[in-house]
């Protein structure tokens, strides 16, 4: 079982299982964007954009979301987890499509179920089912009317949103003839219509070609830099890593961890960080075990408190380096001690690489006890 789910808290029914929870107000935090039709008071702006408190949702005997606590202010947060982990249910709860059976969800202080909360939220669902006979523009315009804009305003906003997602030139075509990527753009356009503060995007990158993905990644980055909060669910971990390092990881209906990838990785005590250190050979081509620098380094590393294991990897004679694989806990302290050791003993390090601190590795450890 994942480390964090097996934390001592997991058995207690009175505490949400938020093993690592880091409130987010990220880099370069711009002031929060103002929603249309309302001026945010200072008091309202101080409220978290999204606040889920001990939220649970059952589907009959099946629990979809279990005691989830999550607070988001601005920036991009990736929502990851395996299929059936409860991501889509959590998104539906946040967007007011479902009502929690227990707990509360607030958007800028409004109950997520209320219509006033939904004015702050733009939702891009995973399924791309539209009215196939309508044109893209007709669909987006119709969605704009549902936000409560008068006709003229709805037309203008639909035009802006279509322009923004690069669909202005193709908006007159029927949805029936759209590719998967074009459908994704139309979905995104309808979520952007009212310039929401919080955007909840369910798998927005699936089915999009690499060029389109880059464009979407840039667009999401732009939105975040404007102070908006984006909660993006995605299985495309590589793309998600380009967008953000802040993750909320879900497993079995619970938030297993929230925070930056590094913060979450630091807390995975049962899975020491894997670090490869390439030590430069004094004379290339030689493989003299007596004068092997890396053996001295390995011995030095084993004396450090946070090192749980050292492995000497096979080195090819033609290489100029000898690799060492280190398993260490508490990465921050380990790297400080490693720096001190290298400087004291004058080891020549050609390369230093952490092998399992990627999003997919962290996710793999959390969800299945091994690297993904």
């Amino acid at each position: 079982m994942p480390d964090l789910l097996d934390s001592p808290d997991s058995g207690r029914g009175d505490r949400p299982l938020t093993a690592i929870s880091v409130s987010r107000d990220p880099k370069g935090s711009a002031p929060p964007a103002l929603p249309f039709g309302s001026r945010l008071t200072e008091e309202a702006a101080a409220l978290p954009l999204l606040l889920c408190q001990r939220v649970s949702k059952w589907y009959g005997p099946v629990i979809g979301v279990n005691q989830v606590t999550l607070e988001l202010r601005s920036g991009i947060t990736g929502l990851v987890g395996s299929n059936g982990a409860g991501k889509s249910t959590l998104m539906r709860l946040i967007t007011g499509q479902l009502r929690p059976d227990l707990g509360s969800i607030e958007i800028r202080g409004h109950d997520a179920w209320s219509t006033s909360a939904r004015r702050h939220v733009g939702y891009c669902p995973e399924l791309d089912s539209f009215y196939e006979e309508m044109s893209g523009r007709q669909f987006v315009e119709a969605m704009a009317r549902l936000y409560g804009y008068p006709r003229r305003e709805a037309l203008d906003r639909a035009a802006f949103a279509l322009e923004r997602v690069g669909m202005a030139g193709r908006a007159e075509r029927r949805v029936r003839g759209y590719s998967k990527g074009m459908r994704q753009r139309i979905k995104l356009a309808q979520a952007l219509l009212h310039d929401p503060e919080l955007m909840v995007l369910d798998e927005p990158l699936s089915g999009i070609d690499p060029v389109g993905r880059d464009e979407f990644v840039r667009l999401f980055g732009d939105l975040a830099s404007m102070g908006k909060c984006l909660l993006i669910s995605s299985h495309e971990l590589e793309e998600l890593e380009k967008l953000t390092d802040h993750l909320a990881i879900m497993a079995h209906g619970r938030i297993a961890a929230v925070g930056t990838v590094a913060q979450i990785r630091d807390r995975l005590d049962n899975h020491p960080l894997l670090i490869r250190i390439d030590v430069k050979r004094s004379s290339p081509g030689e493989n003299d075990s007596e004068n092997d620098e890396r053996r001295r380094l390995a011995a030095g590393l084993l004396k450090l408190n946070d090192v749980v294991g050292v492995e000497l990897l096979d080195a090819r004679p033609e290489d100029a380096v000898d690799p060492v694989l280190v398993r260490a806990r508490n990465p921050q302290r380990f790297f400080q001690e490693l720096t001190r050791l290298v400087l004291e003993e004058w080891y020549e390090i050609a390369r230093l690489e952490t092998l399992d601190d990627s999003t997919s590795a962290v996710l793999g450890y959390l969800l299945s006890g091994r690297s993904a």
């Binding site: 039709g37 219509t115 669902p125 089912s129 969605m143 936000y147 690069g166 732009d222």
Partner: protein
Amino acid sequence: MGESLNRAATPELLHYRPWRGEFRTPAASIWPIARVALTSIFQKWMFWIIYILGLLIFLLFFFGQYLLSWAETQAGETDVQLGGWGRMNPRHLIALFRGFLKLDGSAESYRSFFAYQGYIVMIVLALAGSILIGNDLRFGSLPYYLSKPLSRWHYLLGKGLAVAVFINLMTTLPAIVLFAQWGVLESWEYLFERFDLLLGILGYGLVLTVTLTVLLLATATWLRRTVPLIMMWTTLFFFCRLLSAAMVDGLRFSPRWRLIDLWNSTSLIGAACLGLDLETIRPGNQPPWYEAALVLGGVSLLCLTYLIRRIRGVEIVR
């Protein structure tokens, strides 16, 4: 990838221009929802064909009334020979036709029109139900609506409005046109003297609208696909009709067994709206209209209860 995202224009486009106006209430979204549903129906050529077929009955009544009025103005006083059956005054002959075809601007005439037109409406609604609402549930379009600032009731009312528009375009509106036509052809006083008929037409239309709308929303939400929906409507309006006729006319059971025929029940209430006596209704041996109203009210309530439960649990894991 063709057209690229308009990165250069980001700041302007993302902030749009500030909205200074007042947002409309969620109730204002009912019509846009209905419009989307109607657009998706009317963009299918098949429905235009069925709609035009449905209007043929209206055209039959419209031109029937017109031709008989015209014939009346052309008829002389001299009797005409009717084959080997003897001679008859043409005016009497026209009056006979009017009475037989129910083209005389009477309450019977409008009841007859609603009855015939209703069959077409049922067929069209059975075909349209999956497009109007079933597909939203079947293909998962519902989140587009439910994530907007409106409630489930607004969504249902929007869809219901679309069905109501559809029903009234095929029944109430043509009936009003027939009423106005009779006034123009015969005498303007008719429009004022028989204003009760206009109210009766509106009442009959209302009964049809409420019953069929709620029933369609519930069955389309339940069955979603066109074929099962047609089968369900056939059972409700055809099989139940046969069954009730067999029980009351064949086995001589209580006339109350006719109440299982929902279409008959709408006709009974419609007839009451038009001020018609039970005796004028065929087949005879009918239950009182208020019992029919009670049954239709119960069925509508049942459908509404189902709709509330279904829409609440729409995201149930499949």
